[in-house]
């Protein structure tokens, strides 16, 4: 149940070359955004194992955000395509687990799109505030 004091916790996996750099840029450009998404840096969005997404949800995250380079721009050529394929399949499975669509998100954010980091994190945070916490029933 979403309450007035509920602050969602989002785990963000950002690829080093694009999205992580973009969040750096958001910092140097002094673009303020919600603090709800601590960032875990990986070298490439292709490093993001679906186990990480599930682990984050199991550990209490309300959402997971994966940020990678735009298709065609991956620093390692095709890592983001692999991330895309895994993500599409993972979303189908997550649906069966009752994970709302907004909770796990894959975004392509290039190194110069600091404003997009701001936009996505703000949007996701607000969506999850409305959706409420992801609570795993452990009976």
């Amino acid at each position: 149940m979403a309450t007035a004091t509920f602050e969602p916790r989002i785990v963000a996996f950002f690829c080093n070359w694009c999205t992580y750099t973009a969040s750096d840029l958001a910092g140097t450009a002094r673009l303020a955004y919600e603090p709800n998404a601590p960032v875990i840096r990986v070298m490439c969005s292709g490093r993001v194992d679906p186990q990480f997404v599930l682990k984050a949800l199991e550990e209490g995250a309300d959402g997971v955000l994966i940020g990678g380079c735009h298709p065609g721009d991956c620093h390692y050529q095709e890592g983001n395509y692999k991330a895309l394929r895994r993500f599409r399949l993972l979303k189908r499975v997550l649906k069966d687990f009752g994970v709302d669509d907004e909770r796990v998100r894959l975004e392509w954010i290039s190194a110069s799109e600091g404003d997009r980091v701001q936009h996505v994190v703000n949007e996701m945070t607000n969506q999850l505030r409305r959706l409420g916490p992801w609570r795993q029933a452990r009976s």
Binding site: C44, R47, G79, K82, R86, A111
Partner: protein
């Protein structure tokens, strides 16, 4: 090669047997006038102006020097009475046909013909046939020919119709001795552009070109159109010209690359309210730059399209820069080049100069001082973004002028300023193919299309791809001092990479734990750097750490957890997840 001895006006000289007499006379400095002679065309003695006396044994003959083959023992006289009388007659006959041609009149003056006995005709063509010969023998287009005979003979095109075989090489106009063939540059009328000055298909690109050698523009070269000409190759003493050169694609193995592909100027047509392309005297700064250059089309004079000097010139800053409709950013160099042009235009034409600016960006050594100098020069600076340039006159003063309508924000009023010439200070933008180029080198572009530096403060000339550096305007708009400094920095970084003699590999490579690997080979096709291979003999999958670039996608895919990435192990990332979510 048989050498013969002849005398010309008493001067004894040797020459190869059967050399045209005119050529030999040139070598000893004896001047003989010609009209129908041209070094590229076989001489055929049709205008007769070059006739001289030749004494051989006891015979005296009048011959055309241009095509008379010298033989041993002849004595040539070029200034005898007979020669002068003959020449005078020929001049008079030529004047009878072409009475106003300047070169004929110059000859007439030299030979004392003041009242030609046969009158002055008003034709301009002396039927020398040079144009016909050049067009057929040199250029190979065969467009011109002689038609009719006798007094009605003339030079023209088949059926007197404009020929579609004419390739507009203008060779005929260039060889015509009387100037009766002229070239009309229609382009100037259609596009309203300044003619950039004639340039032959073979040309040296700029005064500062390195190497300082000519290139051939295959698109306009006559040889590639008609398979003839090749005059350049004929006159080149070093025989350095080869029309058969083909583009060569070379594979050069390098260890580092500096991408310095520059910028392109913003197309002034993107700001249509300033009238570029609409009004004839709206120029871009680059065009004015060309104009004030001493080797430009006007020899450095600042003139309007009509050829008159402008009395008032308006320079509009920030065309395509600081403009939400084109580019948000400031192009950095335009304020200073606008000031430079303001100074030069005023110097050349004495015109009153107006600068329309948003801010004056004069950060640099001597820049602010130069701005002050301009203020003292009487240049007027109006702070406001120009709304439009038009030719609508509201007052008599504005008639025939270009009116710049602008809000003068410091005076808090809207002004209309009539000028003769408008100069648009266009900004810099990333080249149209920047996206394609940067993909070649696996670098990123920043939002405006400039190449992305690794870090704006700490690594301005490197990119995220090791070994690829960027310099100059390709990285963002900047002026020459900054470009040179950046180029030096990029060169230094490239050098240090080469000097190091070894490459540091990434620490965060992946590896495969043999004990856990089942040889399922799911990871093998995933590596774009071919770092993973299945060893058929040992039946295990192996990862080459030297090829691995450290993306970790194999580790994410490995269903056994056998492939892992140094510094990004599953356990480490899991610990991070637990850490950020710890209450």
């Amino acid at each position: 090669m048989k050498l013969v001895t002849i005398t010309i006006d008493g001067i004894e000289t040797e020459a190869e047997d059967r050399t045209p007499l005119l050529q030999v006379a040139n070598t000893v400095g004896v001047k003989i006038p010609t009209l129908c002679h041209h070094p590229l065309v076989e001489p055929y003695g049709v205008c007769r102006i070059c006739m001289v006396e030749v004494h051989m044994r006891n015979r005296v003959r009048m011959v055309t020097a241009c095509n008379y083959p010298v033989t041993d023992g002849i004595a040539v006289f070029t200034q005898t009475d007979r020669v002068r009388r003959t020449r005078t007659m020929i001049i008079e006959w030529l004047l009878a046909r072409c009475g106003q041609v300047p070169v004929l009149n110059a000859l007439a003056a030299e030979y004392g013909v003041t009242e030609p006995r046969f009158g002055r005709g008003d034709d301009t063509c002396i039927l020398c046939g040079l144009c016909v010969k050049v067009c057929s023998d040199v250029v190979g287009a065969n467009v011109l020919g002689f038609f009719n005979r006798g007094t009605t003979r003339y030079v023209g095109t088949p059926y007197d119709e404009p020929s579609d075989k004419c390739i507009a090489c203008t060779a005929c106009a260039q060889v015509c001795p009387t100037g009766c063939i002229t070239v009309d540059d229609e382009a100037e009328q259609i596009r309203g552009e300044l003619p950039l000055g004639p340039r032959t298909p073979i040309y040296i690109p700029t005064m500062q070109a390195v190497p300082h050698q000519p290139v051939i523009d295959a698109a306009s070269c006559i040889h590639f159109k008609t398979d003839a000409c090749r005059v350049c190759a004929t006159v080149c003493e070093s025989k350095a010209i080869d029309h058969g050169q083909q583009d060569r694609v070379e594979d050069i193995q390098v260890g580092s690359i500096i991408v310095a592909t520059g910028f392109q100027p913003v197309d002034a047509a993107k700001v249509p309210q300033y009238g570029y392309g609409q009004y004839p005297n709206v120029f871009t700064a680059l065009q004015i730059e060309h104009m004030v250059n001493a080797s430009g089309p006007t020899n450095g004079q600042v003139v309007l399209k009509s050829g008159d000097k402008p009395k008032a010139v308006g320079i509009i800053h920030c065309v395509g820069s600081r403009d939400r409709n084109v580019h948000d950013y400031c192009s950095r160099v335009c304020c200073m080049y606008s000031l430079k042009l303001a100074h030069l235009v005023h110097e050349r034409s004495g015109a009153k100069i107006y600068n329309f600016y948003i801010d004056m960006r004069a950060a640099g050594k001597g820049y602010e001082e130069f701005y002050n100098h301009l203020l003292e020069e009487g240049c007027e600076f109006i702070r406001g973004r120009v709304a439009e340039v038009s030719d609508w006159a509201v007052t008599p003063l504005e008639r025939g002028k270009l009116v710049i309508r602008v809000e003068d924000t410091l005076a808090a009023c809207v002004r209309r300023i009539p000028v003769d010439m408008v100069v648009l200070s266009t900004g810099l933008e990333a080249r149209a193919d920047a996206n394609a180029v940067r993909r070649l080198f696996n670098v990123s572009c920043s939002s405006d299309g400039w190449f992305l530096e690794r870090h704006p403060k700490l690594a301005p000339v490197s990119t995220f791809t090791d070994g690829v550096f960027i310099a100059g305007c390709a990285q963002g708009p900047k002026d020459i001092p900054d470009t040179v400094a950046q180029a030096g920095a990029a060169a230094a970084e490239a050098m240090s990479l080469i000097d190091r003699g070894q490459v540091e590999l990434e620490a965060y490579t992946a590896f495969i734990d043999d004990a856990r690997c089942s040889g399922c080979q799911v990871c093998v096709p995933l590596c774009p750097f071919s770092a993973i291979e299945f060893n058929q003999e040992k039946k295990v999958t192996q990862l080459n750490g030297a090829l691995c670039k450290g993306c970790g996608t194999c580790a994410a895919a490995c269903p056994s957890g056998a492939a892992q990435q140094h510094h990004f192990m599953d356990a480490q990332i899991t610990a991070e997840i637990e850490g950020v979510l710890a209450q």
